[in-house]
Amino acid sequence: MTDGGLEAILMLNRSALLRFLSLRSGGADPEDLLQELWLKVQSLEAGPIAEPRAYLFKMADNLVHDRRRADLRRNSRDDAWSGLGRGASPTASTQPTPEEALIARQQLRLVDEAIDALGERTALIFRSYRLEGMGQREIADKVGISLSAVEKHLQKAYRALTDMKDRLHADSLNPRRRGTEGHEDVAE
């Protein structure tokens, strides 16, 4: 039942994908990653895909990301935020311990406060996007604003999110440096 369409497109874009994998993985083993991508493509259910080239790049991007996350978890079990990471697949998760859940609750409260501080509309748009899984276009239609306005709200929220991650990460490595650097607010 396999139609070789996606594989053929992978072949055609082999050098571009290799370049991409090399850029995204810090030069480590792009050939190896391409093989992994190939296997994933072959195990996909047959069926037409609208933007096959973009689809392959997205798959390649996810592949690098998942691998980095797996490495990160192996190397830093005590980084609270990333230590909670249980893989990209939600079904493969193991239950967090009560202590981990407590830390997660405290951290989530801090993150939520940071998001709420950006204003009601930004917080609503971020949560619709991240928790409800709504697309940016869908949010634009629902809220009645332009797509680029949605992106601006999300840009703000993701900025706060990455800043908060930096800060929590720094805290977990050196608690005495709490809130002293590395998290200037968004100038706005």
Partner: protein
Amino acid sequence: MSPSDDQMREAAIAWYLRLREPADADWDGFMAWLEADPRHDALYQEVADAHDGYGDLVEAVDAHRPSNDNVQTNPRRLKFFAGIVTAAAASVAGIVGYPMLTASPATYAVETQPGQHQTVRLDDGTRIELNGDTKIMLRKGDARFTSLDRGEATFTVVHDASDPFEVHVGADVYQDAGTVFDITRDNNGAVETAVSHGAVLYNPGSDAVRIEAGRVLRTDRGRATLASIDTATVGTWRDGRLIYKQAPIARIASDVSRNLGVPIRVSPDIAAQTFSGVVILGGDDSTILPRIGAILDISVAREADGWHMSSRARDSR
């Protein structure tokens, strides 16, 4: 952090957000950006990690939420399949039932809006999953009766040979024989019944045609035809996938319209053209319909109140 670092971080977030929207994804532009500065990749990765990290926090908190939690902290589940979930989320409010005064014994309708999905469980454990723009009738106190007035539903029946489950479609009766089956009734009255497990008896009192698993019965204006169907493709609309073998575009348009809740007009010259393959329904209509156009190799354009499918030749650019 220097201002240029700040700008780089903003660019990283912008790339991350844009690459998650399939319609806006410019992977070549992204590669050029990655090549422009060795720090770009790490910044992009940080955004991806923050995105995932937030999800991990929410999941970790949800996993340990006590069952008698107070209402202040409403549970947040991450949803991973945007388009499908939002369509289904519209229907969580429960069954829209209303009593019908004309029909007896007490019959009531369960109806979905276009784009809305709903699952009904009958007392005997039988499950009826309604696609969008669908209307079924049920009887109070009689879990073995259903009629399909409009649209599409998948029936997962708890079989009882002594009291078979029946679906009435117009004047026809479909009787289960241990069954999972899907019935579609389009706006012109054509009915398609596909069986994935067990068997269904068509008009047991008269025609008594047995539709086995892997078979599909199509009736249209008095003509009935039986054909083979891959059982794995029955009722896949429930996962947001529509699977076709030699299906006319008119049929595909009507299925997509029912699932998304948007009107779709099909030019007569392509209505009978056939397609085999999968149509995946992730996203909203403005992302799905252009995709379907590409898959079916037809032109799809937005109209005032919906969409129009026509032959690609007419808009050769």
